[in-house]
Amino acid sequence: MRSRTVIDLYFVNRMQAYGWPILVMVLALGIVLAVGAIVGTQGAEARAGMYEGMTWSGAIFSLLGPMIGYGFVSMGQYFPLALGLGLTRREFAIGQSLLFLGNALAYALLITIGKTLEVATGGFGLQIRFFDVFYTGTGASWQTFVQTFLLIVATLFLGAAITSAFLRFGQPFIWLGGSLLGILGVAMVAGIVLVDGFGAQLLELFTLGWGSWMGVIAVIGLLSAGTWLLLVRRTQVP
């Protein structure tokens, strides 16, 4: 099937696509483990404090970070090449979607395995948190799997959708999107400062249950994927 070619295109750069993210993650994990070992010498209290604090550790973004770029690169570099080689937009979209889902599945599995190990071994015996953090879900392992999978899929499709929108509408899209985000931010800050109880309500809104949050991420992912699929069929090679 010709759509498979899209996957072949990405596997040309195995190291860039998979090697480096995993190596960087291993490096980050090593640093966190070293921190854990140092703090560990300062007594049980310090260790417990660290365990609590590391719930918000963003070290896992060493792995999730490259995913954001991946979505952009798909439309910026691989789309023109795929069309240049005579693939249709439809074939590209199918291959690219399969690749996004496959990537999300693989990385979600990796993180879930890491988290399960981490929890089972008490933070690798050092009371650290790397996989078992807020962003990947601190609940059960299956929850981490669902959460990271949804998060990665949504990120990938969002990146692709944004790049497609840029290719389709050009510079005005960036200005418009940026302005909207800016206005939204200013409105929120203004609301918190000027309107009594606005901040509290906002906080309540954000402290949804896990399930609802997953719903929100899934909706963002679906909307992005839908937008991207719609745009990519009309996108021209620059």
């Binding site: 010709r2 498979r4 070619t5 072949d8 295109l9 040309v12 750069n13 190291m15 860039q16 690169v73 570099q77 691989y78 023109p80 090449l81 069309l83 240049g84 080689l85 005579g86 693939l87 249709t88 937009r89 439809r90 074939e91 069929r233 009309r234 021209q236 090679v237």
Partner: protein, 293 residues
């Protein structure tokens, strides 16, 4: 049968017409030249025909069908783009392997031969290749794909004289053995003029010439002699270009078959042929002041 045809095809970018009302037919299994100055719309036309971009209006048929989102047509079409970009880390080897899977008629042996002929470092990152080596990558894919319809957009960029001759000879040899439709877009008109059977000349998005190469070869002649005699002879002719030195003059005029040359000789003037390249240069420069008026 026609390999491709367009009817009143146009492509506008805001208020600029990159392709303006183009209606052409290219017969299959011939070598066609798509010529014109930079910005004349050659690349845009090829991008339209390979469905990289969408037309603003008009219609087109490529290998008998609409090429847009048509895998059947696009797998039979190979477009070697001068500006094709490759992601980081791509090597010629990778592109050839992937092309092999995409083009049904791919000839791996030919690809191997060409890599050796062009001395292409196939394991070096494409980003680190010279402009000429990058052109060689395109040429190798374009020839080895053996696609029934192959577009070469400026295949000569950065190639040295040896590589240019190599491309010409390998294209000619492979085309003779495996006839297919080839569209050559290049500024090196003299180098390919003996290969072209049919020429389409674009100027500012419009078709300026659409002719058999045979007809173009004798479409104009250069007459020279004494200024007065040249002037007298060319009063009724369509003059494309004139030059004078002292009492002598040279004029490039549109010829009406063999008679014009014979008449010029009878009038005591020297007659010389006008190469396709010079003819096209004169036609495009003659058009510029006409359009400005």
């Amino acid at each position: 049968m026609n390999a491709l045809e367009t009817r009143e095809l146009s492509k506008h970018y805001r208020d600029v017409a990159a392709i303006d009302d183009v209606s052409i037919s290219l017969e299959e299994n011939r070598v066609h030249g798509l010529l014109g100055r930079n910005g004349a719309g050659k690349t845009t036309l090829m991008k339209l025909l390979t469905a990289q971009i969408f037309a603003t209006s008009g219609s087109m048929r490529v290998l008998g069908e609409d090429p847009v989102e048509n895998a059947g047509v696009l797998s039979q079409t190979c477009f070697i783009q001068e500006s094709q970009k490759y992601p980081d880390g791509f090597r010629p080897l990778d592109v050839m392997r992937i092309s092999q899977g995409l083009y049904p008629a791919w000839d791996q042996e030919l690809a191997r031969d060409l890599v050796a002929d062009f001395r292409l470092p196939e394991k070096r990152a494409i980003r680190k290749l010279s402009r000429g080596q990058l052109s060689a990558v395109g040429i190798i894919i374009g020839l080895a794909s053996r696609a029934p319809l192959t577009f070469f957009d400026e295949p000569y960029l950065g190639l040295d004289a040896v590589a240019r001759r190599l491309f010409f000879d390998r294209l000619l040899a492979d085309y003779a053995e495996h006839p297919r439709t080839i569209v050559l877009s290049t500024h090196h008109i003299d180098e390919v003029s003996n290969l072209l059977e049919h020429v389409v000349l674009l100027d500012e998005g419009k078709v300026m010439l659409d002719e058999e190469a045979d007809a173009l070869q004798s479409a104009a002649i250069e007459v020279s002699g004494r200024l007065t005699e040249v002037d007298e002879f060319t009063t009724t002719a369509e003059v494309l270009h004139t030059a004078r030195i002292g009492a002598l003059a040279t004029a490039t005029i549109v010829a009406d078959g063999e008679q014009t040359a014979a008449a010029a000789r009878a009038a005591g003037l020297d007659v010389a042929p006008v190469s396709l390249q010079n003819y096209i240069v004169h036609r495009t420069t003659a058009a510029a002041p006409a359009a400005a008026r």
